[in-house]
Amino acid sequence: MTVRRSTCFFAILAGLIPVVFALCLLTGSAGIPDLGTVTGHAILRMRLYRTLAALVVGSGLAASGTVLQALLRNPLAEPYVLGISSGGALGAATAILMGLGMVSVFAVPIAAFVGATLTLTLVYLLAGEQGIPSVHQLILSGVIVGAVVSSVLMFLISIAPTRGIHNIMWWMLGDLTVTSRPLLWAAMALTGTGLIVTWTLSQSFNAMTLGRDMAHHLGVRTGRTLLLGLAMATLMAAAAVSLAGIIGFVGLVVPHTVRRIIGPDHRRLIPGAALSGGLFLALCDTAARTIMAPRELPVGVMTALLGGPFFLAVLRRNRERGPLT
């Protein structure tokens, strides 16, 4: 039953890809581009990169959220729960305020990536006093480190000059404009690696949802799975953060929805969530670009506006049934 349902689901997603591409390429503040002109070509190319960025970021965040929800055994887990977002934001803000953005277009994204990975490493080390940390310790230390990092970020914002604040805010709201193509390819490669590795671990993730002990009885190398899964989830989330800033709700909402449609088996769920996440973000971005054209809304506002109410509905449902139903 689930198998047939998921076949349908993947067929629909595959059919949606050209539709979404067409929508993304043909709409925007400049309308349908005229391919006869150089400007038209340039606009089309910009929209194409932007769509690719949305696909990379959306799929990375959704896959990352899926993995974290399984490993942390927590329906509220998302890519940013372990302090990844605040770490990335702090890295980016530091780079912006130091004026590194003027030196190279790579400076801010790399700083964000470093900030995100360093934060997770810190969270991991703090959580595991001896050996491999428990899930609860991870969540707890993630929340605490995230709070500390956020307050440092607030401090930076409070002393920043106006122009810097604008840059930081825009960055924290999320923006899919591709400032440099190599950055897009790098994020794509990292996200691709993360997707492949997590997909090969999907059986182990299935077992890990039953708890470390039970997964151990089922022949899973639990310590390795936890470490590798966390590392890959961070890699994907950090790649997304460095490419597009902080975009919330995709990593939380997409896995939940897809799980409800095609079931909890991660062998199907990881590709399903990744694909849906990418398409969802591409659509959100298109909406953000067109709804108030020629003004452009931050895409983070779009995902939150769509994701927020949905998330509340999931919570309500959880109260009536079990979590993650």
Partner: protein, 427 residues
Amino acid sequence: MTAALALEGVTAGYNPGDPVLRSITLRLERGEMVGILGPNGAGKTTLFRLLTGLMQPIHGEVRIFGEPCRDLTAKRRAQLIGVAPQSIDGPIPFSVHELVAMSRSVWRAHPWQPSHTVRDHRAVERALALTDMSDLRHRPLDALSGGEKQRAIVAMAITREPPLLLLDEATSHLDMNHRLEIMQIVERLNREEGVTVLMISHDINLSADFCHRLLLLDHGALVADGTPSEVLRPELLQAVYHCDIAVSRDPQRGVITVNPARRLPTLPPETGARCHVIGGGGSAGELLRRLTLSGYRVSCGVLNRGDSDEVTATALDVDTVIEKPFSPVSAAAMESVRRMAQDCRLCIIPEVPFGTGNTANLRIAEDVCRRGGRVFIMEGIEHCDYTPDGEAKRRIQSLLDSGAKTWKHTATLLQQLAESDSQVETP
């Protein structure tokens, strides 16, 4: 042939200075069906974690089919050992069928090998059918009752067709019928396919019924190892479980039944028999607790403030008279205790260390004795006399001479009390 399971001088625990299991040596031959018994905290769970590789020994070695447990790969270990823990849960509601198929996947060479081979399919279906879960196959994990979960767990364990099956309280939530059914499945696997079974259970009778060999664990050591009739001896169980135990054998059916004799013979509430305990020095705590639970109206004294007996007595609302810390019993305190116990016809003396300060307390026992009441004195109390002139010993001897009885364990004392109560009532 190598043993299915061998432990060689294994010490294990969470703290190397204070291990839970101490140098356990044990061998399970292939095809055995063995039960592990023991009270809470005896080390059963630690043993289970050790055998499943969740924990490594501090000293010694665990071998599974000759291979050191430490060297087994996770997958190989899962192929060799089917584990059925007490319960499972998770935030993601996999269906019963998905769970059982997931467990079967340990035989797959790599994650992408298709899971629909004929053999896999048959093993999954068989496990579902044997555990009576076929009809519930699409039920998600969070919609299962405790017993259904346990049947799903057993299905997960047996679908792997492991040569060794470890059950940890795997039938504790099951109703009578399903408990027997699961045990019969396990027994059948043991008999027909030579699966070695090791089960931990608090259900002594179930273990005695199905296991050919029982191991009794206490304080991290093996205290008995043998057939059910060798291990289930009342005196052994009594020493391990600290309660009175009746073992009955039905020679016709060959069944041994173990029942805790009602641990605390309780009195009907309206009788409220009075009982005075001469406590002190931390000797009376357990006695006060048991007597109160049994329904006696207990008094105790004279106690010194800060003594652990005083703490227990206050917590249990026992009538007491309290003297200053480390002070001798004053005449005034003695007078109030005597008034408190004036209509009491039962006095119990635990192993109180007597010195010049507290021998006065024996007055109550002497009063009770004079009134024709019953006095019970703990055996070995003569070693607790620290008075320079042996006054306590002398007075206790005279109590014994005038008909006081002795007692040994709290459990047996309650039995003695219940018996003498009925004697008192019958005439």
